[in-house]
Subunit: 341 residues, 6 copies
Amino acid sequence: MTSAVDLFEAELRLCGVHEGETVAVLSQTERQRAYARDFLAAAQRLGALSYEVGLPADNEAGGLDYVGVNPLAGNQAAIEALKQADLMVDLVFLLFSVEQQEIQESGTRILLCIESLDVLGRLLPTPELRERVECAAEVYEAAEVLRFTNAHGTDVTYQLGAYPVMTEYGYTDEPGRWDHWPSGFLFSGGRDDGVDGRVVIAPGDIVYPFNRYVQSPVELTVESGRIVDIRGGLDADLMADYMAGFDDEKAYGISHIGWGLNERCRWSALATDPQSIGMEGRAFYGNVLFSTGPNQELGGSNDTACHFDIPMRNCTLYLDDEPIVVDGDVVPEEMRPRSSF
Amino acid sequence: MTSAVDLFEAELRLCGVHEGETVAVLSQTERQRAYARDFLAAAQRLGALSYEVGLPADNEAGGLDYVGVNPLAGNQAAIEALKQADLMVDLVFLLFSVEQQEIQESGTRILLCIESLDVLGRLLPTPELRERVECAAEVYEAAEVLRFTNAHGTDVTYQLGAYPVMTEYGYTDEPGRWDHWPSGFLFSGGRDDGVDGRVVIAPGDIVYPFNRYVQSPVELTVESGRIVDIRGGLDADLMADYMAGFDDEKAYGISHIGWGLNERCRWSALATDPQSIGMEGRAFYGNVLFSTGPNQELGGSNDTACHFDIPMRNCTLYLDDEPIVVDGDVVPEEMRPRSSF
Amino acid sequence: MTSAVDLFEAELRLCGVHEGETVAVLSQTERQRAYARDFLAAAQRLGALSYEVGLPADNEAGGLDYVGVNPLAGNQAAIEALKQADLMVDLVFLLFSVEQQEIQESGTRILLCIESLDVLGRLLPTPELRERVECAAEVYEAAEVLRFTNAHGTDVTYQLGAYPVMTEYGYTDEPGRWDHWPSGFLFSGGRDDGVDGRVVIAPGDIVYPFNRYVQSPVELTVESGRIVDIRGGLDADLMADYMAGFDDEKAYGISHIGWGLNERCRWSALATDPQSIGMEGRAFYGNVLFSTGPNQELGGSNDTACHFDIPMRNCTLYLDDEPIVVDGDVVPEEMRPRSSF
Amino acid sequence: MTSAVDLFEAELRLCGVHEGETVAVLSQTERQRAYARDFLAAAQRLGALSYEVGLPADNEAGGLDYVGVNPLAGNQAAIEALKQADLMVDLVFLLFSVEQQEIQESGTRILLCIESLDVLGRLLPTPELRERVECAAEVYEAAEVLRFTNAHGTDVTYQLGAYPVMTEYGYTDEPGRWDHWPSGFLFSGGRDDGVDGRVVIAPGDIVYPFNRYVQSPVELTVESGRIVDIRGGLDADLMADYMAGFDDEKAYGISHIGWGLNERCRWSALATDPQSIGMEGRAFYGNVLFSTGPNQELGGSNDTACHFDIPMRNCTLYLDDEPIVVDGDVVPEEMRPRSSF
Amino acid sequence: MTSAVDLFEAELRLCGVHEGETVAVLSQTERQRAYARDFLAAAQRLGALSYEVGLPADNEAGGLDYVGVNPLAGNQAAIEALKQADLMVDLVFLLFSVEQQEIQESGTRILLCIESLDVLGRLLPTPELRERVECAAEVYEAAEVLRFTNAHGTDVTYQLGAYPVMTEYGYTDEPGRWDHWPSGFLFSGGRDDGVDGRVVIAPGDIVYPFNRYVQSPVELTVESGRIVDIRGGLDADLMADYMAGFDDEKAYGISHIGWGLNERCRWSALATDPQSIGMEGRAFYGNVLFSTGPNQELGGSNDTACHFDIPMRNCTLYLDDEPIVVDGDVVPEEMRPRSSF
Amino acid sequence: MTSAVDLFEAELRLCGVHEGETVAVLSQTERQRAYARDFLAAAQRLGALSYEVGLPADNEAGGLDYVGVNPLAGNQAAIEALKQADLMVDLVFLLFSVEQQEIQESGTRILLCIESLDVLGRLLPTPELRERVECAAEVYEAAEVLRFTNAHGTDVTYQLGAYPVMTEYGYTDEPGRWDHWPSGFLFSGGRDDGVDGRVVIAPGDIVYPFNRYVQSPVELTVESGRIVDIRGGLDADLMADYMAGFDDEKAYGISHIGWGLNERCRWSALATDPQSIGMEGRAFYGNVLFSTGPNQELGGSNDTACHFDIPMRNCTLYLDDEPIVVDGDVVPEEMRPRSSF
């Protein structure tokens, strides 16, 4: 049996935390403070120093559905306070913000941690997973074109090269690197005007943040990196209404593209845990993770608050015509789990 | 950034709370008590006096799904305690009860507040919204017949005149008036035997309290103000089984009818916040809000505990043959938002 | 009005707790401890002695989705501590474990209680319900073959006799007997290799632990007590993916079979309370409860952690060709509620 | 064993609370709210209706050391809210205020309850105690002069008649009557200018709110109802400095005078429970309770916030020359406990 | 830095807890439950199994001032539940009860732990302390007469032999042995009628449970094991009144006698921490700990609830005329700290 | 009425916090976190940015009785995190540490705040108090010798000049300046070897951290800045034993010397609030505050953890033979309150 402190200790150990390092934990709500207390204790067990930076509570900033806004904005002293640490555990969700970038650039590595203890414990990362994700990144970085298709009519092409390849394997031991516990996938983006084709989201594909399995196909027409048409039934209507609500042209941009490699994650997990943040759905083995909206984390300029992450099943993905995923299964041996599962 | 107290202060200001007034807050559960504490503090900031009236906790009375029953029933001294205030904030949900009516009749205005801070903050009301809702009410009050249709076969007629028109714009500064934060719609009812026709709930329409988008059409036949037939697939079965569970003929009565005017509310909000109370879904701009069951809040005699609120999309609604909503869009200029959105 | 202590007192009274008896309450999480405190108080009111046995918190053992594993495993002293009591209230969920069996064998009766206060209060059991469930059990015990069908193509046969018939009516006053508050059904199992045919889960049938109404038919082919084929759309995919995730041949075994008799439970309850444990859905009157996976509670050897409970509507169930349930209605007079409802 | 709810139920029963009555509970701090919750539950057990009136928290009003100020001041609606009840349980301490008087005058009886559960349970009142206190009050009411002495030089005379005799026996079942749980004594006051003599507080006498046994004699010279001189060592200095701190001539007035009759209270209790409110010290059998400062509770006009209660040991008290207490023992048979203790 | 779990782990390690053992923790109040949670976690770190036994809360049993009564009385099943463990941590304070004796006799060792974390951490025991206490016990066991004196007139003699010598060094690793964390002293008792002389408690000596430094001498005359006279000033009065309050002849019996050996404990600690339980005052190096009242822990028959522990300074204690403590300093080399302090 | 946030807002306003500044709050325990939350809210009201720095909880560092040790020691990143702010509110008590000095030297001003809300509210500082304290500091800075006496035999001389004069008036608006809310006094120190004479602590003088009025005179002989002899009764013994417990020669050094100027503070406050930190006792008008032990806050090298603060009554204090305080009353007009009190 394992307590929360035990679990966080295991994770910090993966993050390379050791005696003499300092861990800062960023929190805001009471629930986050409970996690923070246990992360401080876990750091102490490893001989590391630690402190929490707590932000004033409010009801406007930084809900999970509204990416791009964050409660650190403008609070330069708090940002400096976080840059003092070797590792910062982000319980608040700074994702995609310039504030997070500034902290990373100071050399502080950042671990995002917002899932439930149950999910964190079940999906504690491993070095083996990291190795496979990094192998995949090497292949991805060498490619110039990504294309993916599915049996429902998807056929879309991304011109690569403008943006780096990002890995997420669930921990971080390199200065300035960000990761999210749990994960197990990688992604990059097409050139801003270099994505064209059709994406047909099929029944069973998941739309985040709706945390919903699509019931009927949704057909997106993509031209020069923008969604220009959305067709389908109720699911299409929901996506269109949600996007319209932001009143922001950038909501229709295409964001990152990649695939999942974590064989311990299940596509069906959403059915038993509909309120999770959904990292399990984003990372399940063989999914193609198609995303819309902001691309700041890649270094891009789209900073819209409207973001969809859509893990798609049974797709085929090519890098420079080399098949990487075929009908939802991963092809290259070095990206596959070491043992059958 | 805004704290809960800041938010409640802004709302109480809209409610006209000022130095020398007294605000009472009605609570029952621990969660409600946290809100109550912050409302008391907000009242103090405005120079108003305040007190909380806490009811004994129990597990029988007043869940949100069971309208018409409330924990004040029979507790005359507590009712009197609430009548002492100029404004009562209802955190418990007294809606549709004779107890609430008695408090209103004493001149105490009542603000219902049961949504999450996130929803409350996002949908803080404005005087501009109030103005448009009141304009709409004037038009509604002058009408004798309401009829609404949709492309799925809805065509139903309400004989008006028996009941008043009620507005909900999210705050209340008139003695004895009740409102619900947030909202943004209006409604009245047909004569008790004066509703006839067919209502076809279409895919995507929302059924509360199921907090569910209908997947397949549900056809209701309405005769003389009563539902006499329910047809369709799974959604129809769910509605029929739910209604049958109350073992109450009054469950099949037709309740209030009206339309939404709040352009900041989104139909798709239920997809990202499935556990909210659903005011956003009831108030979104251009929906026709069709309801069944109790009509006490209109002064009617139907006091069944079985209540459906069904915001319907893309309907056309006529008052005395004048189109007010056409295919889900509001026609009269004075009911439309001042600026494009 | 009724407090939690009042409610628990009523339940313990049904369980025959009286002066001189001792009640132990098993807990692990903080939420369970609140229930425990109130159960201790309720026992005191009945003149009974009481104590709580609290297990160390952790994030690995005994989530509701993973049956068969439990936090008592290996903790023999804690097991002995529980065997000292006349009645043990299980707030943790030991279901299907050898540890629970050992406690029952010592003569301690066990009441499982994990639903919300709202559900517990609404569905407090009655002796009348018990009587009807026991009548049904007598009939079931005498039968050699069970067969059930539905209009979607289900036709499956269970060879009975290998396993006992178990009743669940919501309380327990017999030494060593286990029950679950609330319930209201009965079940047994076919011989390990004695179940054959086809089960077609129809739209509207519920799949637990997905807490989901099936949207499209799922066809299961059963041979010699094992599922050998799963066909259908999204729902079938979800079930197949979930089962595959356990990487366990025993996940495909057929488990218990029975029918519901509680007329106060509604099939539609899941629509208004999607996060309940689902006893209302399992016990509604006239459902056939089809289950897969572990059968330890019947004394069988299948101990897989993968378990589906699937209450099916509108089925017809025969015992030795005698119709017991016909199109979702219960036939034998002695199993029907005393008064119309 | 007895829970807090059991204890409060016993007390409310003594207060004559019954089905059909309403109990209001006045609270302000979180600690008081825990008591309030249990009083509401206790009232429910007796079939009474109940509600809590919670006041906004603040850090200025109504600490126990500053009598006469209270958080109800100016909050007329809250006062009216409390007047609706048959019994009000005061957890906040309104003692000596005009607000309390107004509530009493409406017929609402008031029970003050601010001690710890331990003290409340140990000193739950009895009808036998009430009877003896009421016997004593009859004798007291008939007297014209009170004089008390002790071996350290005390000899002081009170001209009676201007003020009523008040009883405190720990519960209240008469309309408009106030009492304090626990207690067990009675008191009246001398005429405003009708107290003269010398009071010598002896080592071992208790000074509240110092919660301190006097170490060295303190000699007070009293002329025409005012303290005109204070002599002695450290204890005298402390009293003089404390009184000077109020900068209020009325601080030097003489307040109520009476004697204790509760044989279950111990003089030495302060030694083991130095932080209690001190009702045990005020009520112990045979003490003469000498007080200074405000006399509003008697109907007088002294409303100073500076109040000393000084239970004195081994005194002799005469009413019209009739010895009532002699050397700390009570003389009249009807005031003595029924059985030896 | 050290967390509560770290501290408890260190203590359990001293208690010899190891993989395969089971630790039970007895609790009752919420505050105790916080300790319990951390003890369970500490046990897990050592590979031990663990569980908590929680008793129903009440307001009557087992306050610290009322020894001899405990909430386990009559609850045989709970007693059995505790006997299952190898070590029981007692957070409730069972001291002197037959229930505790029964648990010890089953072989379960018991650690009492009721001080604050601050005291526990500061006075974590050591094997060195144990060794010295055990050396002292050997000497004590061999003696037939104990006599102690002080400069204020104390001269009292205990006839030894009737009772065993008990050690308290703050942890326990022997089956069935009880200890109290922290401590550091030893004691035995005189024969029931074998204590005679005079004890003069001097200014500065501490009287527990008054948690008070005596201000003026208290002279106790002891005849045949009973206090027959108490003389002195305020302190004597307090002791006499307290004892009289129990209305129990056994309150006047002489209980255990011994001396303190813990050089890390300070006599002056009570001045800075007046609300501690007082183990520091009982264990300080060179004090003679004189006690009255119950002697059940020695196996005697005095079970009064009235208990004084009185650590006396500057005494001289002889065993068979051999000086062990002289003027508050310990003489035998083997009982003195290894290094100067 | 005033909430905690109101109170903190008033204090931060005195501290000159304004829009664009940043306030950091240092906390460690749960109780401190409640204060921290309210300070963050108060800062927001003033338009300032804010964040909390939370340290890991432990049971070793920084209790109030052990000055000189603090939980920031060695945690350089946390120190840097605090240096980012314009004002740091210290809820933990860093007093006398090099860590605090480093933070001050960065320009961050520090406000210590550890008293109860009741004390904080009653003794909210004023600019008038600040002015008088600063006037006094000017006089003090100009002096070369300080001598103070009392009627009990005190006559001691401090050679000034080695250390600065420090003011404490309860708020801080100058970069790098530290203050403590509440206060109202000033102090400096004699040269390390430049204090000689006799200090006789008189009955009624207060010894912190004993929080105790001295009962009998304590005579300290001071030679060359060190206490070389302690005589007297119980109080002297307590001081001597406490000092010996630190096993540290520096415990006997003489620390700061000064006088109190806050006329709203009462010497008798300790009698009604024995558990306060004691700022009221340290600051009362006309006391001479004599201290022993560490002098780091003056820039000295004595860093012992043994510290006494001893406010003495009725003393006479001279600066270069000019009487500043005479028999406990302040002489110079500019140090006296503006109006009589």
